[in-house]
C-alpha cells in the first residue's frame, strides 16, 4: 500500500483525479487537537484552570482515539502506512534540501516522525498534567496520588513538555509550508477537505462520516456537560468548577471572627501568627476585641490545630513555605505568597465599591467562606473585569 501512496512528482503534474486521503475522523482529530493546544496555552492563568483542564482531557481523549484509529482507521491513518526508518527520513530530508523531495499522498517520512513525536509528547503532557493536577490541586482522577511538592515538580515537567510540543508544532508547520511550496499544493486545504490531487489508481479513504459525527456529538455533549455550571450561574451565586475537600470548621470561631470580617480560615496563617494574634487581641489591628477567656480557650486551639502547617490546602502549603521562619506575620496580605499572587491587581480594583479592600477575599474568591481557595474559584465582580486584565 505504501508504494501506491508514494508517487513520483511527474505523476502529480498530470493531476488526473482527486483522492480522499484524510477521512473525517482524522481531520476532526487534527483540528480539535490543534484548538485544544492553543486553548491550553491561553488558559495558563489559574482563573481558567477548568478550561485548561478540559482542553487537556479532550486532548487526551483525542490522542487515545488517534492511537486506536492508527490500527483500525482508513489506510492513510494507519501507523503501518506511515512508519519509516531513519534512513528514509534522512533521504526525504535530503530531497527537501535539493528542493526535490518525493511526494507522498499520506504522511511523508519526516512528517510521520513528527506525528509520532507529537502523539508521544502529547500523551506525556496529559499524564504529567493529570498527575500535577492530582498533586498540587488534589483534584481530578489522580487526586491524592502525589503530594504538593511532587505535584509541583510534575507540573514543571508538564510545562517543559509543552514547550517541547510547541517547538514540534512549529517544525510541523514549517514542514507543511515547505512541502506545500515545493509541491505547489495546498496541504492545509487538504487537511480541511480531505482531498489531494492524485493518479486515478491511488487508494482512497472512506469519509467515515458516521464515526466523525459520533466524535463531534461526543465532543459537544462532553463540553456542555463540563461547562453547564456557567449556563446556570447567577451574579449572586457564581459557578465554582472545583471543590476542595471540606475544611475543619468551628461555630464560635465563625461567629466571633466573622462578625467584623470574613472568618479567615486558620489554614491561611501559621501557628505562630495565630498565637500572636490571640495574645495581642487588645490591639487587633487597632481595635480591642475584649474576647473573654472562655472564648479564647475555644478559638485558639482551633486556630492552632488547623494552621497553615497542616497543609490542608494548596494555599496553606504555599503561604506557609513563603514566610521566613523568623517572621511572625499577622496579616495574610503580608505573606510573600499572597503578595506574589495579587501583584497584578491594580489599586482601582482594590478600591472598587464591590471589593472595598484587600481584606475582602470573598469579593473575588467564590469559596473564601469555606477557606479552600481553589484556583478556578475566582471571579472578579463583573464591572471590574476589564480594569483587572489590562494590568
Amino acid at each position: 500500500m505504501l508504494n501506491q501512496m508514494t508517487q513520483p512528482p511527474e505523476n502529480f503534474s498530470k493531476q488526473e483525479s482527486k483522492v480522499r486521503v484524510w477521512d473525517i475522523p482524522v481531520r476532526l482529530f487534527h483540528w480539535t487537537l490543534a484548538s485544544c493546544f492553543i486553548v491550553a496555552w491561553l488558559t495558563l492563568d489559574n482563573r481558567y484552570l477548568d478550561i485548561h483542564v478540559f482542553a487537556g482531557y479532550l486532548m487526551g481523549g483525542l490522542i487515545l482515539f488517534r492511537l486506536l484509529w492508527g490500527f483500525i482507521g482508513s489506510p492513510y491513518a494507519r501507523f503501518r502506512n506511515f512508519t519509516f526508518s531513519r534512513l528514509e527520513v534522512w533521504d526525504y530530508l535530503k530531497g527537501v534540501l535539493h528542493r526535490h523531495p518525493p511526494r507522498f499522498l499520506g504522511h511523508n517520512p519526516a512528517g510521520s516522525w513528527a506525528i509520532h513525536l507529537l502523539l508521544g509528547i502529547g500523551l506525556s503532557i496529559i499524564i504529567s498534567g493529570l498527575l500535577g493536577f492530582g498533586g498540587e490541586e488534589q483534584q481530578g482522577p489522580l487526586a491524592g496520588w502525589l503530594n504538593y511538592p511532587q505535584g509541583e515538580l510534575m507540573l514543571e515537567f508538564h510545562e517543559w513538555l509543552s514547550w517541547l510540543m510547541l517547538v514540534m508544532v512549529i517544525i510541523h508547520l514549517m514542514g507543511v509550508l515547505v512541502e506545500s511550496l515545493l509541491h505547489q499544493e495546498n496541504l492545509v486545504a487538504a487537511m480541511l477537505t480531505g482531498f489531494k490531487p492524485s493518479a486515478v489508481d491511488a487508494v482512497s479513504s472512506a469519509s467515515h462520516w458516521k464515526i466523525g459525527s459520533a466524535m463531534l456529538a461526543i465532543i459537544i455533549t462532553v463540553s456542555l456537560f463540563w461547562f453547564q455550571g456557567y449556563l446556570t450561574e447567577t451574579p449572586e451565586k457564581r459557578y465554582q468548577p472545583f471543590y476542595g475537600s471540606a475544611l475543619p470548621d468551628n461555630l464560635l470561631w465563625r461567629e466571633e471572627c466573622g462578625a467584623c470580617h470574613l472568618a479567615f480560615h486558620p489554614s491561611l496563617l501559621p501557628t505562630r501568627s495565630w498565637k500572636a494574634m490571640m495574645e495581642g487581641q487588645v490591639s487587633h489591628f487597632g481595635e480591642d476585641l475584649f474576647l473573654e477567656q472562655n472564648i479564647v480557650k475555644e478559638i485558639e486551639p482551633f486556630l492552632v490545630k488547623n494552621a497553615a502547617e497542616q497543609e490542608a490546602t494548596e494555599a496553606a502549603w504555599k503561604i506557609n513555605r513563603s514566610i521566613p521562619k523568623a517572621e511572625t506575620l499577622l496579616r495574610i496580605t503580608e505573606t510573600p505568597y499572597w503578595i506574589k499572587k495579587h501583584q497584578k491587581i491594580s489599586d482601582a480594583v482594590w478600591g472598587h465599591p464591590k471589593v472595598n479592600s484587600k481584606v475582602n477575599c470573598a469579593a473575588c474568591h467564590i469559596d473564601a467562606e469555606v477557606g479552600t481557595f481553589e484556583d478556578a474559584a475566582m471571579h472578579l465582580p463583573d464591572d471590574i473585569e476589564a480594569t483587572a486584565i489590562t494590568e
Binding site: 467584623c260 470574613l262 481584606v359
Partner: protein, 133 residues
C-alpha cells in the same frame, strides 16, 4: 394538631420579643444601678448621630459610619466592608435579645467611635433609641 401548631408558632413569635424585653430591661436595670436614667430615645438618637474626632487619624467617626443613618437597612464595616445586618428590631428580631452581645458591642464600639467607654446614661439612651425602631 392545628391548635398545637398555632401554639408553637405563637411561642416562636413571642419568645424573641420576650427575650428582647428581658435583655434590654436587665441592662437598663444595671445601668440605673450605675447611676443612669431616666433614659431617652431622643438623647440616644442624638448620640447615635454625633460625630467624634479620632485622635490618631483626625477623622470624624460616629455610629452611622458603619450602621448608616437608616437602621432598617444593612450597614457596612468601615474597614473591612463586611455587611452589618439592620439594627432595628422591627426588621431584624434577633437584635437586642442577648445581653452578653449588647455588652460586648458597647465595649468595642464605644472605644472605636467615642475613643472612650460609654457612660451608663449613654448606653441606656442608645438602647432606648434602638428598641424604639
Amino acid at each position: 394538631m392545628n391548635r398545637k401548631f398555632i401554639g408553637i408558632t405563637a411561642l416562636l413569635v413571642v419568645i424573641p420579643l420576650y427575650a428582647q424585653a428581658d435583655a434590654v430591661s436587665e441592662l437598663e436595670a444595671k445601668y440605673q444601678s450605675q447611676g443612669g436614667g431616666p433614659f431617652s430615645a431622643a438623647a440616644g438618637e442624638a448620640l447615635w448621630n454625633k460625630t467624634f474626632i479620632d485622635a490618631k487619624t483626625g477623622k470624624g467617626r460616629n455610629c452611622t459610619t458603619c450602621h448608616t443613618t437608616d437602621q432598617t437597612k444593612s450597614g457596612k464595616h468601615a474597614r473591612t466592608g463586611k455587611v452589618i445586618k439592620p439594627m432595628a428590631p422591627s426588621v431584624n428580631p434577633k437584635r437586642l435579645t442577648q445581653a452578653k452581645k449588647i455588652k460586648k458591642w458597647f465595649i468595642r464600639n464605644c472605644k472605636w467611635t467615642l475613643g472612650r467607654k460609654c457612660s451608663a446614661q449613654e448606653k441606656g439612651d442608645v438602647l432606648a433609641f434602638l428598641k424604639s425602631l
